[in-house]
């Protein structure tokens, strides 16, 4: 492995030999109306037919030989800007692009030849801009980021209302969700119906499913990178809306014009406010609400220095009495400093604090009560550098240090006046990683990105750790000895090399072939054995007994632009993934407040493979996409399913998604999406027997997930009506607003979430036969209409 590293460094630095007659053009690309940095905007150099792309902060840098050039700055949905330069010195061009006129245009103007996906090295990534997310017909009219990404190829969910999402056959806990670089441990409000991301504050969403760059690590399946808006640096603006669930308000504006800006966005569910007069429970201290606050501010110190501060706070409260109920939420804070060392060396230093906690409280009196809370918190420091070596090499390197504290349970119970504390000691962990990668244009047609990440995970005392007995696979292992470690002593330590490689071959100007390999390592495990993940699921670090998860993924893809203005995009991607140290559970596992949790966990291997096709129309009155995925996801765990491979709970053979957006006229537009997926696997019994008067369903063949639920399909539509632009007196309105009328599940399909087997609820006299039944549950059993009003002024 070391030889690979040295070869890599050698390779990268061999490219360092610079031609003194070359100069660098660099700068930021921003939105002209609000000053927001544009991520992934392109700079195209006509003469060399090459160029660059802006990074997450809107920065680009290209190095060219001294000459005259025509530069074309463009970004989807924006009018391109052409700049003619005579390059004889290093130059800084900060460019502002104007959004295309918002009115519908009868004749589509030269929309700009967009070629990002074909020419970009990236594969297995999907970007959704927030305007698309806002157009997708949504449940109860609430634009939702996580539900929107489920329309992308390779992304699935176990059912309506389930929290999180599954990427390429990976579990919910294998996705790293970053909100401005801060990990979000639970991304859901109201279990899984809504996500914590406020669409009014989000700028850009990017999902990495494969070919994950070496600067990211920590989860096996995917990375969801959510970037917040910086806030309008030109003028004050307020946006907001009233929907069926949330009322929202976001205010943004300059603190110092063109130098510093802020945004603060707040959402709150308001059903409890409306219900309060009628529901005595809510007046007596009961609660049913969820809210979040998102804020960000940035200061442009000078040309080479910019700082950003962003934060998020969200909470769900469910109390059915003053002292009884649940509450959970995330809090994150991110401080970033962009520093440009010189035209070619861009750096970013990030410091993050992230926290997730939940608490439960039961008991009507202090004499009989139970209080429990659980916390995960972490501090992260991350220096990152991009060195734009020359036109053919872009070097990325940096490090990351994460300090985790896990508090699985702080719990005290009181029974008839006798209190007992059963808290489980907290666990301290430190994860450090280093990475380096180079994106190298080997020839005009071939680009390769090769990189390496090294991660080291340490589990520190003070803590008591246990050794467990060997039992038959699938049964509980008992602790047989324990050992105490002092504060600061290393209990377990894992180090892993994570090679990453991707390549692109430009087979023609409009098509390319790309491939990638990456190894991912995951040191945190989401421990959950319920059908859908829930807020009380516990994250557990790797320990002496729980090994880190490893995953290797291979992908190959073909990308094609079609049409005169390249308005169509087609891609085909295949992937194969092999994973190790996957967690499963013994039957009857006890996962909450269990000091000996490790004795209830099983470990196995996984494999997932699939083919994703994606066809998108990007411009015109009708836009949208069709995505189809054929896939399989399986696990093999000793002690389950006769030690044979079995399909995971989220395995979906077919997964078809269609999203369409149509501009009817200047005021009205129409959106629709259709989803068809194979039913997910479940376990059916074969037999029944009676034990102590209770009817037991039993699978005599000991199979897991032996049948599939019926297929899932659903159509959603929405109409959007723009408010009048002109007042009745002929003057133009300063404010803009729009209404969204939607119907979710138009043809009222009762999609099965689960089928469960039970005995009839009637009391059966002894000696009589008990009748058994199967019940199919649809979480949403009818169509759900919605209306929302949105404004901006």
């Amino acid at each position: 492995m070391k030889s690979i590293l040295s070869a890599l460094i050698l390779c990268a630095f061999s490219a360092l030999s610079q031609n003194p007659n070359k100069f660098t053009i660099s700068g930021y690309i921003k939105d002209a109306t609000n000053g927001e940095a544009l991520i992934g905007a392109t700079v195209y150099v006509n003469e060399t037919q090459g160029g660059g792309v802006t990074n997450e902060y809107g920065f680009y840098s290209i190095t060219l030989a001294a000459s005259n050039y025509t530069l074309r700055y463009s970004y989807l949905g924006y009018s391109p800007t052409i700049k003619i330069v005579q390059l004889d010195k290093n130059s800084r061009f900060d460019i502002e692009l104007f959004g295309e006129a918002e009115q519908l245009q009868e004749v589509v103007v030269q929309a700009g030849i967009e070629q990002a996906n074909v020419q970009n090295l990236e594969m297995s990534t999907n970007k959704l801009d927030i305007n698309t997310i806002k157009k997708i017909p949504s449940f109860l009219g609430e634009a939702d980021l996580l539900r929107s990404i489920q329309l992308l190829p390779g992304v699935s969910t176990v059912g309506e209302g389930a929290a999180g999402f599954n990427v390429r056959g990976g579990s919910v806990g294998q996705n790293l969700i970053l909100l401005d670089e801060a990990p979000v441990y639970n991304s859901s409000h109201l279990l899984g119906f809504f996500s914590v991301f406020n669409p009014d504050a989000v700028k850009d969403v990017k999902l990495f499913k494969g070919g994950i760059p070496s600067r990211y690590g920590g989860r096996l399946s995917s990375l969801l990178d959510v970037r917040l808006k910086e806030g309008n640096s030109k003028k004050f603006e307020a946006t907001g809306g009233i929907g069926t669930i949330f009322s929202r308000l976001a205010v943004e504006g300059p603190l110092i014009k063109d130098k510093a800006s802020f945004i603060i966005a707040v959402r709150r569910s308001y059903i409890d406010v409306l219900a309060r007069p009628f529901v005595p429970l809510l007046q007596d201290g009961g609660a049913l609400n969820f809210y979040d606050v998102t804020l960000k501010t940035n200061y442009n110190i000078n040309k080479n220095n910019r700082v950003y501060l962003s934060g998020f706070f969200g909470r769900d409260n469910f109390k059915f009495e003053r002292n009884q109920g649940f509450s959970w939420g995330n809090a994150t804070g991110t401080l970033r400093w962009n520093h440009i060392f010189n035209d070619r060396l861009f750096s970013n230093f990030t410091a993050v604090y992230s926290n997730y906690d939940y608490s439960l409280q039961f008991g009507r009196t202090d004499n009989d009560s139970f209080k429990w809370n659980s916390v995960i918190s972490n501090y992260i420091f991350k220096p990152q550098f991009t060195y734009f070596l020359n036109n053919n090499n872009e070097l990325n390197f940096g490090a990351e240090a994460i300090f985790y504290t896990f508090e699985p349970a702080n719990a005290v119970g009181v029974s008839n006046g006798t209190p007992t504390d059963v808290s489980i000691p907290k666990k301290n962990n430190f994860e450090t990683s280093f990475y380096i990668s180079n994106s190298q244009k080997v020839s005009p047609k071939v680009t390769v990105d090769y990189g390496l990440r090294y991660s080291l995970f340490n589990y520190y005392g003070p803590d008591s750790v246990y050794t467990y007995s060997n039992e038959n696979p699938g049964t509980r292992r008992r602790p047989i000895s324990s050992q105490y470690y002092q504060s600061g002593e290393v209990i377990a330590s894992y180090g892993n090399w994570e090679p990453r490689l991707s390549f692109k071959v430009q087979s023609s100007p409009t098509s390319s072939v790309k491939g990638s390999y990456n190894r991912m390592v995951q040191y945190l495990h989401l421990v959950s054995n319920t059908t859908a993940s829930n807020p009380l699921d516990v994250w557990n670090p790797s320990t002496n007994n729980i090994k880190p998860q490893l995953g290797d993924q291979y992908t190959i893809g073909w990308f094609k632009d079609i049409g005169a203005t390249r308005q169509f995009e087609l891609s085909l991607e295949g992937y194969y993934k092999k994973t190790q140290n996957q967690i499963d559970y013994i039957d009857g596992a006890d996962l909450l407040i269990n000091r000996y949790l490790e004795g209830d966990l099983l470990s196995g291997e996984g494999r997932a493979y699939g083919l994703e096709t994606y066809f998108q129309k990007k411009t015109g009155r009708l836009t949208g996409w069709v995505s189809y995925t054929l896939s399989r996801s399986e696990l093999k765990v000793n002690g389950i399913n006769n030690n044979d491979w079995y399909a995971t709970r989220f395995n979906q053979t077919h997964n078809l998604k269609v999203a369409a957006f149509y501009d009817i006229n200047k005021r009205w537009s129409f959106s629709a999406n259709f989803v068809y997926t194979s039913g997910t696997p479940t376990t059916f019994p074969t037999s029944r027997y009676v034990s102590q008067g209770i009817l037991v369903p039993y699978n005599s063949n000991d199979q897991r997930n032996n049948v599939n639920l019926p297929a899932f399909h659903r159509l959603d539509i929405s109409f959007r009506m723009e408010g009048r632009k002109i007042r009745s007196n002929g003057k133009e309105r300063k404010n803009s607003d729009y209404w969204v009328f939607g119907i979710y599940n138009v043809y009222a399909r009762q999609n099965p979430f689960s089928i469960y087997f039970s005995q009839n609820d009637q009391r059966v006299p002894q000696g009589q036969a008990i009748s058994s039944q199967a019940t199919q549950l649809a979480i949403i059993g009818s169509l759900v209409p919605s209306v929302s009003y949105n404004f901006k002024f």
């Binding site: 059903i271 139970f370 119970g413 006798t418 006890d590 369903p697």
Partner: protein
């Protein structure tokens, strides 16, 4: 209680929907079912042998007859269970005089011979605390059913960690045997590692009462013809509560049994555990022989009854 909030949400916002269906199921060979929960209560003790049947076969399980069933205490004393001529598959042990089956602390081995196959299991009788009292009370006026009467019992866990119990309730002589009525305790609380257990601290015994959810789970979950909940008890009713000492394996089994059979449906399905086979402690002596299911437990029992007079 655990998913109470889900019910609130269901009521306010969503429209879930449940349909009874009859999916086709895979076929399987029938297996021997041993239902052997014997106690030291006075009177006959019964072990039932039957066969598994297809899941949707709504008939009494087929009995297994002509088996030889014995329970041996500490390897010495044999209790023979003889088939009831009137009830095929029911095997009874009849005491002589005041004899009861079992003593606290003793070990037991069950042997069931069916044809040429021999099935075995072991168990141990644990200690059981007395029931201190039973109380009836009217519901809190703030609760949704203020006119209901519920009962609760008070008892204290036996000193030490790891005592496990099954609390069985009989209303007017009828055993409450719905899956939602299974009431098991690990010490005075729900499960291992929990905060509720009796112990000795600084030579002072600290006796902990069963926690309220266990105390209260002696109330039947019954509904009227319109699916409205009925008051668990009305004046004139009587309740009999029994605490059975069970082994840790039996406790785990009953917990799994409740998890797998108590399916209230609706939103609780989001967080229900997938269908999995409950465990068994009955094994064929021949590891390659036919499998069996069911459980064997020998329990010490304490009990108390109370009539509800207004």
């Amino acid at each position: 209680m655990k998913y109470f909030f889900l019910i609130i949400i269901t009521g306010i916002i969503f429209i879930g929907c449940e349909t009874i269906i009859s999916p086709e199921l895979q076929n399987a060979e029938p297996l021997l079912v041993v239902d052997a929960w014997v106690t030291n209560k006075p009177g006959d003790q019964t072990i039932i042998l039957s066969q598994t049947q297809p899941y949707f076969e709504n008939k009494l399980p087929p009995p297994v007859t002509n088996a030889v069933v014995t329970v041996i205490e500490n390897g010495t004393k044999t209790y023979s269970f003889l088939e009831d001529p009137a009830k095929p598959g029911y095997y009874n042990w009849k005491p002589v005089g005041n004899e009861v089956l079992g003593t606290v602390g003793a070990s037991y081995r069950l042997t069931v011979q069916v044809g040429s196959e021999i099935y075995e299991s072991t168990s141990k009788m644990g200690p059981v605390p007395p029931i201190d009292s039973i109380q009836y009370k009217k519901n809190d006026p703030n609760l949704s059913n203020p006119d209901f009467y519920t009962a609760q019992f008070f008892a204290k866990d036996v000193i030490g960690v790891g005592d496990t119990y099954w609390i069985k309730t009989f209303k007017n002589g009828i055993f409450l045997n719905k899956p939602s009525e299974i009431n098991v305790a690990y010490d005075a609380g729900f499960d291992a590692g929990g905060p509720f257990f009796s112990r000795i601290e600084n030579n002072i015994p600290i006796l902990v009462d069963f926690i309220p959810p266990i105390r209260n789970r002696i109330n039947p979950n019954d509904t009227d013809a319109n699916d409205n909940a009925l008051s668990p008890y009305i004046p004139g009713d009587s309740v009999m509560v029994e605490i059975h000492s069970i082994t840790l394996q039996s406790f785990a089994y009953l917990r799994q049994l409740a998890e797998q059979t108590n399916r209230p449906g609706g939103f609780s399905e989001l967080f229900s555990k997938p269908l999995a086979n409950v465990s068994t402690n009955i094994a064929n002596k021949n590891p390659n022989g036919k499998k069996s299911v069911g459980f064997f437990n020998v329990a010490a029992v304490s009990s108390k009854g109370k009539k509800f007079k207004k």
